[in-house]
């Protein structure tokens, strides 16, 4: 499959390099999600950089949105707080710059409307200028993404689409063919949030997806502990952790406490993704 979607080598993003490096080390990559703006913009960026220093290979920078219908209570609480605190779309570019400068790959996770409103091509240009690698779009499937596909091609960005346990074989093929960077495999049918165990559907989905694409496959939704990260690293190219990391900041008594919780969880997760 990869021949049909591969971009010219010159357009290889930092994301692609980081995933290849992890593979060369025979481990999965660690992808950590945090929303920009929580508890405020500066601290959220400091927290993202702290994650990179503690071993996250890729930072998924959430752009807060009023109607996050794929998110569970922890992330929803954080993005609501970020919006109340006055976060702006442009803050996502600042965060991307900081993550890239710290040496990790930056991808932005966003619902579609803020991008549409900002202007799809302009958003892509600014994202590229900030050193980000691409976008994760939880409510934009390739079927509706013509404009984003054109813009991401024009600006050399990755486009990370999701596959789900409910995806039909035909959709696994068409979705992975449209994507670039990695494929986001949703481990279960549900929204973001820590779960006691990684869904049994995750491994089966990764296997079904592998059969139709050469793109790296990262697994997200519900992964929260180093043990789960280790388990997922056994069959996936990357492990995506969101709510558990966000919770470090939400539950903390003060900022320094939150950042140190975040550092230590990231460190343990980074150990976990080593097979």
């Amino acid at each position: 499959m990869s021949e049909s979607v591969a971009s010219p080598p010159s357009a290889k993003t930092r994301l692609t390099q980081v995933l290849a490096e992890a593979k060369a080390q025979d481990r999965a990559a660690l992808v950590g999600y945090l929303p920009v703006g929580y508890p405020d913009v500066d601290i959220s960026i400091e927290a993202m950089v702290a994650m990179v220093e503690a071993g996250a290979d890729i930072v998924e920078i959430g752009l807060p949105y009023t109607d996050p219908l794929m998110d569970g209570p922890v992330i929803q609480a954080a993005v609501t707080g970020a919006l109340a605190g006055g976060v702006h779309v442009a803050d996502v570019f600042r965060a991307a710059r900081a993550v890239a400068d710290a040496g990790a790959a930056a991808v932005v996770m966003t619902y579609w409307n803020p991008v549409l409103r900002y202007g799809v091509d302009r958003f892509a240009a600014d994202l590229r200028a900030a050193g980000a690698s691409g976008l994760v779009t939880p409510d934009l499937v390739p079927d509706e993404a013509a404009e984003w596909i054109a813009a991401s091609d024009a600006h050399g960005l990755d486009r990370i689409f999701l596959v789900a346990p409910s995806s039909t074989p035909e959709r696994l093929i068409s979705t992975t063919a449209a994507g670039r960077g990695f494929v986001y495999a949703a481990s279960l049918m549900g929204v973001t949030g820590a779960r006691d165990s990684v869904g049994s559907q995750a491994q089966a989905l990764v296997e079904r997806t592998r059969a139709v694409t050469d793109l790296p496959i990262c697994v997200g939704l519900g992964v929260s502990t180093p043990g789960q990260a280790h388990e997922v690293a056994g069959f996936a190219d990357g492990v995506i952790v969101g709510s558990a990391l966000v919770r470090c900041l939400v539950d903390a008594t003060d900022i320094q406490d939150g950042l140190s919780q975040l550092r230590s969880l990231t460190r343990e997760l980074a150990q976990g993704v080593r097979r």
């Binding site: 949105y65 009023t66 109607d67 996050p68 219908l69 794929m70 569970g72 929803q76 609501t80 919006l83 702006h88 779309v89 619902y111 579609w112 409307n113 803020p114 991008v115 549409l116 409103r117 900002y118 202007g119 799809v120 939880p138 409510d139 934009l140 499937v141 079927d143 509706e144 993404a145 013509a146 404009e147 689409f161 999701l162 596959v163 789900a164 346990p165 409910s166 995806s167 039909t168 959709r171 979705t175 949703a186 049918m189 549900g190 929204v191």
Partner: protein
């Protein structure tokens, strides 16, 4: 303006399917099921039988001459969706979707509701067909429509108050989508209006088309001609699409949608999507007009009417608006409540506050067009659920006796209007 051009279910640029991948196969299954059903005599027969012997269709039309005196003397005819079982047009769509749920072999339905009428209709159909039912409702709406919360519970449904965001309809929709993603294998989301991802806007409209099909024929048979204008309130837009659709090809018939103007468009506290306030964007799975800020964040809407208090609108309305085929005007809370009072006192019909917006539109358009005009107004629901809100509005309750603080929080001014008010 950004105009995506790919994808399914477009009305011009509007519509589409902006959803998590996890839901796509369920939407495909739904689309296939309803396409087959809509050409299957067995399905259509079953639905028609329910409409006749359960809903009470066809609903009648009623000419309201005493109310018409407040509409510049224009003749006014009401399409009486308020007489349907459960008290509004919502049952038309719900029975259709509930039958589809059975055909898909699913055992559970979920719904969002604002005014509670869609929730009541869904709970009713679930009881009738033996389906489990959960209804999401913003906390604010559970308070201003407390009677409908009790009705749903009596019908065996679980009502889940939603406490985030604006705590109204928009947030109930988010919560319903979250539930659906997690339970889609055995659950159908009975979306309550003509928005959401394809095929919902088209499917819900088709279940409501019967309103306009009946009304058009009734106008010809009983009044002798087509109306000059058809008026309906527009929340998501289902009762309006239902009555408009059969008239779209009648070029001489004006189609007029009335939105929740709240405290006035200029105040920013309103639900008027088509008054230069909203811009095209994506909300809840569809590309359509959305009340949003410069950065694409949804702006909260406000209306005395829970059923109109929604920052977005069905994509087919967006298309009809841009094409100039339908007109949309805001009606303020004050105007709607005045129309509510007038219909009650001149005709003995208590309208839903949603429907009162359409009546207020008729008062305005009638005065514009004069006594030769003939107006058809969709009375989308009855006002039983709104008695408490209206009583508060007009200051008819003895607050010492009516010590029920939960049911009144959203009613705006409590000032009596002086001599005019004798409800």
């Amino acid at each position: 303006m950004t105009t995506p051009t790919t994808g399914l279910g477009r009305f011009g640029a509007y519509g589409g399917r902006y959803v998590p991948e996890a839901l796509v196969s369920a939407l495909q299954e739904l689309d296939e099921c309803r396409s087959k059903a809509m050409s299957d005599p067995a399905f259509l027969g079953e639905l028609a039988a329910l409409q006749r012997s359960y809903t009470g269709r066809p609903s009648i039309i009623t000419e309201v001459p005493r109310f018409a005196q407040h509409c510049g003397g224009a003749r006014v005819v009401l399409k009486r969706e308020d007489l349907n079982h459960t008290g509004s047009h919502k049952i038309n769509n719900v029975l259709g979707q509930a039958l589809l749920t059975k055909r898909m072999g699913k055992t559970r339905v979920i719904a969002e509701t604002g005014a509670g009428q869609h929730g009541v209709a869904t709970a009713t159909a679930a009881a009738l067909l033996g389906l489990d039912c959960v209804v999401y409702m913003g906390r604010v709406d559970t308070e201003r429509q407390a009677l409908n919360v009790a009705r749903m519970r009596l019908l065996g449904a679980q009502v889940v108050p939603v406490d985030h965001g604006s705590r109204t309809l928009k947030d109930a929709v988010n919560e319903a989508f979250r539930d659906w993603v997690a339970n889609v294998d055995h659950t159908h989301y009975v979306l309550g209006t003509v928005t959401g991802p394809y095929p919902f806007p088209e499917m819900v409209r088709d279940f409501h088309r019967i309103i306009g099909v009946e009304a058009r024929q009734q106008m010809l048979d009983e009044i002798g001609r087509l109306p000059d204008a058809v008026l309906a309130c527009v929340g998501g837009g289902s009762n309006a699409m239902g009555i408009f659709h059969r008239f779209i090809d009648d070029a001489d018939v004006r189609l007029i949608g009335l939105e929740g103007g709240g405290e006035g468009v200029a105040t920013g506290r309103h639900a008027a999507r088509f008054s230069g306030q909203a811009t095209p964007g994506v909300l809840h799975g569809a590309f359509t007009y959305v009340l949003q800020d410069d950065e694409g964040q949804t702006v909260e809407s406000h209306s005395v009417s829970a059923g109109l208090d929604y920052p977005s609108v069905g994509p087919e309305h967006a298309f009809l608006h841009d094409a100039g085929r339908a007109e949309y005007y805001p009606v303020t809370d004050d105007e709607a409540m005045e129309a509510f009072r007038l219909l009650s006192q001149t005709e003995g019909i208590l309208p839903a506050i949603e429907s009162a917006h359409a009546l207020a539109g008729a008062m305005r358009i009638g005065r514009e067009l004069g006594p030769d005009a003939l107006l058809l107004v969709n009375l989308s629901g009855r006002g039983d659920k709104d008695v408490h809100t209206a009583a508060r509005w007009f200051g008819l309750l003895d607050d010492g006796v009516a010590a029920d603080p939960v049911s009144v929080s959203a009613a705006a001014p409590v000032e009596a209007e002086g001599e005019g008010v004798q409800l």
